[in-house]
């Protein structure tokens, strides 16, 4: 009996943890991305994270949209117009459809994942442009794990974690699906820190992010995210190190927050 009660308790807490308590439709976060150039940080792009409600005849979903746009002065050198979106269950943040539509300095790529959670697979569609400007498509069915999510819904899922219950050093793994491949993202809670941001002085949870077995985001606490230590867990500041340099992401404005 005791064991059954324990299992019920665990299931209840798992279900409870999965509930979205952080993200609401109508939220808009604007960031400024800067890149380290000869020791000086230069603003290169504006990153927006927006949420909105999408209604179909059968259900209502939450659209999580992230876009990156280079500033005008960089457009002649390297124009970036990236669009990432994920359509998720508003209650659990489980993704149903993911789209990545990127245009980076003449390079164009479109990726779409249509999730089938019951069968644990995704129907992926890749669209690319040839050198002569013609587009070609590739359809694939990819088997995924039960908890695999795209990068956008994972980003929002991190915000939905119960960090206040974690102690420094605790970490959680997320399985990310990127370019039809699964990768493990490790999120480690470091400590609480108060930092100055454009939206005021905020007490924040400092998290370290790393990709397992990848050179892109190495795991020596060099990629950090600061989330406000309140119910909204707004990402206000991020520091990243990639093989070709380092950069920062600073919040410019935050509107439409849930709490």
């Amino acid at each position: 009996m005791k064991h059954y009660l324990f299992v019920i308790f665990i299931l209840f807490t798992v279900k409870y943890h999965a509930q979205n308590t952080t993200i609401a439709a109508g939220e808009k976060l604007v960031f400024s991305a800067s890149y380290n150039m000869s020791g000086l940080l230069t603003n290169i792009a504006e990153v927006k994270m927006e949420t909105s409600e999408v209604k179909t005849s059968k259900s209502t979903l939450l659209r999580l949209k992230c876009s990156a746009t280079t500033y005008k002065k960089w457009d002649d050198f390297f124009k970036i117009r990236d669009l990432y979106e994920s359509y998720v269950n508003p209650k659990t943040l489980t993704p149903y459809l993911y789209k990545r539509d990127i245009s980076e300095g003449g390079y164009y790529k479109f990726m779409q994942y249509k999730y089938s959670h019951k069968d644990k697979l995704i129907r992926s569609l890749k669209r690319k442009k040839n050198k002569d400007g013609k587009t070609w498509e590739e359809n694939k069915i990819v088997k995924i794990g039960a908890s695999s999510k795209d990068i956008i819904s994972t980003l929002y899922a991190i915000r939905n974690l119960d960090i206040h219950k974690a102690s420094p050093g605790d970490q959680q793994e997320f399985t990310i699906l990127f370019d039809n491949k699964e990768t493990t993202l490790i999120v480690k809670y470091i400590n609480k820190e108060t930092i100055d941001t454009k939206i005021g002085r905020k007490a924040c949870y400092k998290l370290a992010v790393s990709l397992k077995g990848s050179d892109l985001l190495k795991g020596n606490n060099s990629n950090l995210i600061w989330l406000t230590a309140d119910k909204n867990k707004v990402p206000v500041y991020a520091k990243f190190k990639i093989p070709v340099g380092s950069g920062e992401l600073k919040i410019s404005s935050a509107t439409g927050l849930k709490n």
């Binding site: 504006e46 999408v54 876009s67 746009t69 117009r81």
Partner: protein
């Protein structure tokens, strides 16, 4: 020695000036510092020689121009997003297309 310093000084001062007028103006600092140091070296060399080469004035003039431009750009240039019409169009197209795809999907409360 003197000739080398003049040539290197001019090259770095010109690089600094070129960089200061481009969006890469943050990179101006390095050639600017080099040009300034070489200008000073040239100044001391010519002091010893008791000669007054015009090159010093030109190098310092270029350094001052590029430094002013860099400072001006750093203070007054607010980053501005370029044309996003195409992105907005792609955004709308994607949304409409997604709505069509999502019509077949029924949210399963188990997931």
């Amino acid at each position: 020695m003197k000739k080398t310093v003049i040539i290197l000084g001019f090259i770095s001062a010109i690089i600094a000036l070129i960089l200061s007028v481009t969006p890469l103006y943050n990179l101006t600092i390095l050639p600017l510092v080099i040009a300034f140091i070489l200008g000073l070296v040239l100044f001391f060399i010519s002091k010893k020689d008791l000669s007054k080469p015009k090159a010093i004035q030109y190098i310092f003039l270029l350094v001052i121009i590029s430094l002013s431009l860099t400072i001006y750009k750093n203070v007054f240039n607010t980053p501005e997003v370029g044309n996003v019409e195409q992105l907005e169009q792609r955004d709308e197209e994607n949304l409409e297309d997604s709505k069509e795809i999502l019509e077949d999907i029924e949210i399963d409360e188990e997931f």
